[in-house]
C-alpha cells in the first residue's frame, strides 16, 4: 500500500480516538457545617461557594465552617469513599465525555443511614451541593469534578 493510505488511516484513527481515553475524573469536595451565630463567619476554604452560601436557603445560616475537604481521582466504574467528619459518602464515575460526567453519589448520615442515593449527569466543573438539616444546623457536602 502507498504511504498516502497509511497517512490517511493514521489521521482517521487519531481523530476517532476519544478525548478522554483515561476515563478519569478529578473531584474536589468540601464538607461544611452551617449554623447561626452572633457574628457571620465563613472559612476561607469555602470561598468558591461564598456567593451561593449567601443565597436562600443557605442564607438562613451565617456561620459556615469546613469539616473536611479533599481531592479524589475517580476511575471509571470504581467507587471511591470520601473521608467525611460526619457520615460517609461514596462517588462512582459511570461515564464521562469531554465536558460531561455521569456520577452516582451515595451519602450516609452519622448513624449509618442512607440519606441520598443519586445518579446525575453533570457538566465538568459545576458544583453539586447536597444538604440536610441536623437540628437547627445544616450539614452540606459540596463537590466539583473535572
Amino acid at each position: 500500500m502507498s504511504g498516502r493510505f497509511w497517512l490517511a488511516l493514521a489521521v482517521v484513527l487519531a481523530s476517532a480516538a476519544p478525548a478522554f481515553a483515561d476515563d478519569k475524573a478529578d473531584c474536589d469536595y468540601l464538607e461544611i457545617s452551617a449554623s447561626t451565630g452572633k457574628d457571620p463567619a465563613m472559612d476561607s476554604e469555602l470561598k468558591p461557594l461564598e456567593k451561593k452560601l449567601k443565597k436562600p436557603p443557605f442564607s438562613s445560616w451565617n456561620v459556615f465552617h469546613t469539616l473536611a475537604s479533599g481531592h479524589v481521582t475517580l476511575q471509571k466504574l470504581k467507587s471511591d469513599a470520601l473521608k467525611l467528619k460526619s457520615g460517609q459518602a461514596a462517588l462512582l464515575l459511570r461515564e464521562r465525555a469531554e465536558k460531561r460526567l455521569e456520577l452516582t453519589i451515595q451519602i450516609d448520615n452519622a448513624d449509618g443511614k442512607r440519606v441520598i442515593d443519586n445518579k446525575q449527569s453533570v457538566n465538568t466543573g459545576e458544583w453539586l451541593v447536597f444538604g440536610q438539616n441536623v437540628g437547627d444546623n445544616g450539614h452540606i457536602l459540596a463537590l466539583t469534578c473535572r
Binding site: 447561626t36 468558591p48 461557594l49 456567593k51 451561593k52 443565597k55 436562600p56 436557603p57 438562613s60 445560616w61 460531561r100 455521569e102 443511614k113 442512607r114 440519606v115 441520598i116 442515593d117 443519586n118 445518579k119 446525575q120 449527569s121 453533570v122 457538566n123 466543573g125 459545576e126 458544583w127 453539586l128 451541593v129 447536597f130 444538604g131 440536610q132 438539616n133 437547627d136 444546623n137 459540596a142
Partner: protein, 176 residues
C-alpha cells in the same frame, strides 16, 4: 311589612347599612334612638377616660406595642421555619423536584439551568462581543432519599451554576 330584626337596627345605628325603611315601625325607631344614646354615653365615657391618662403613659403604651410588633417575627422565625418557608415559596415554580420518601429511582428531572451561557471577549477597547455558548443542564437521572423529602434546585451566580439537592426529614417537616 315584616318586623325589623334587631341586627338590622344595630347596623343602621352604626351606619353600616341603611335600613331607614324599617324605621316606620315606632318600636324600631325607639330601639335605634336608644342605641344612639347608649353609644353616645359609652363614647363620652371613653373619651373622658382617655383624657385622664397622662400623655407620657400613652407614649409608654405605644412603645410597648411597637416592641411587641418588632419582636414577634424574630422570635417565631427559627432557622427551620425560614428554610421551610423558602422551600415552600419556591417548591412550585423554581427548578424544583420534590420526591416522596423512599421514592423509587424513577425521577428523570432535567434541571432548568440557563438556557444559554455567554462568554465575553474584548479586544481592549469598544464594546465587548457576546458569543452564546450552548449550555447543557444537569440531569437528575434518579434520586432516592429514604424517609425524607428532597428538593432539587439550581443556584446561579457569577461563579457558575450549582445543582443543590436538599433533604428534609419527614418527621421534622410536620413540626415546623
Amino acid at each position: 311589612m315584616a318586623k325589623p330584626h334587631d341586627i338590622d337596627l344595630m347596623e343602621h345605628a352604626d351606619g353600616e347599612r341603611d335600613h331607614a325603611d324599617r324605621l316606620r315601625d315606632p318600636a324600631a325607631r325607639e330601639k335605634v334612638e336608644a342605641i344612639g344614646e347608649l353609644s353616645e354615653l359609652v363614647r363620652g365615657h371613653l373619651e373622658l377616660s382617655a383624657d385622664a391618662v397622662p400623655p407620657a403613659r400613652f407614649e409608654q403604651i405605644w412603645d410597648a406595642i411597637d416592641k411587641s410588633i418588632a419582636s414577634t417575627p424574630a422570635k417565631s422565625a427559627g432557622v427551620w421555619s425560614r428554610i421551610a418557608g423558602w422551600f415552600e415559596r419556591h417548591r412550585g415554580h423554581v427548578i424544583t423536584g420534590v420526591v416522596s420518601a423512599g421514592a423509587v429511582a424513577a425521577l428523570a428531572l432535567v434541571l432548568r439551568g440557563p438556557s444559554s451561557e455567554t462568554t465575553t471577549t474584548s479586544s481592549g477597547h469598544g464594546s465587548p462581543t457576546v458569543l452564546p455558548v450552548a449550555y447543557r443542564p444537569t440531569e437528575i437521572e434518579s434520586l432516592e432519599t429514604p424517609g425524607a423529602d428532597s428538593t432539587v434546585f439550581n443556584l446561579q451566580d457569577e461563579d457558575g451554576p450549582a445543582t443543590v439537592i436538599w433533604v428534609t426529614p419527614e418527621d421534622t417537616v410536620e413540626g415546623i
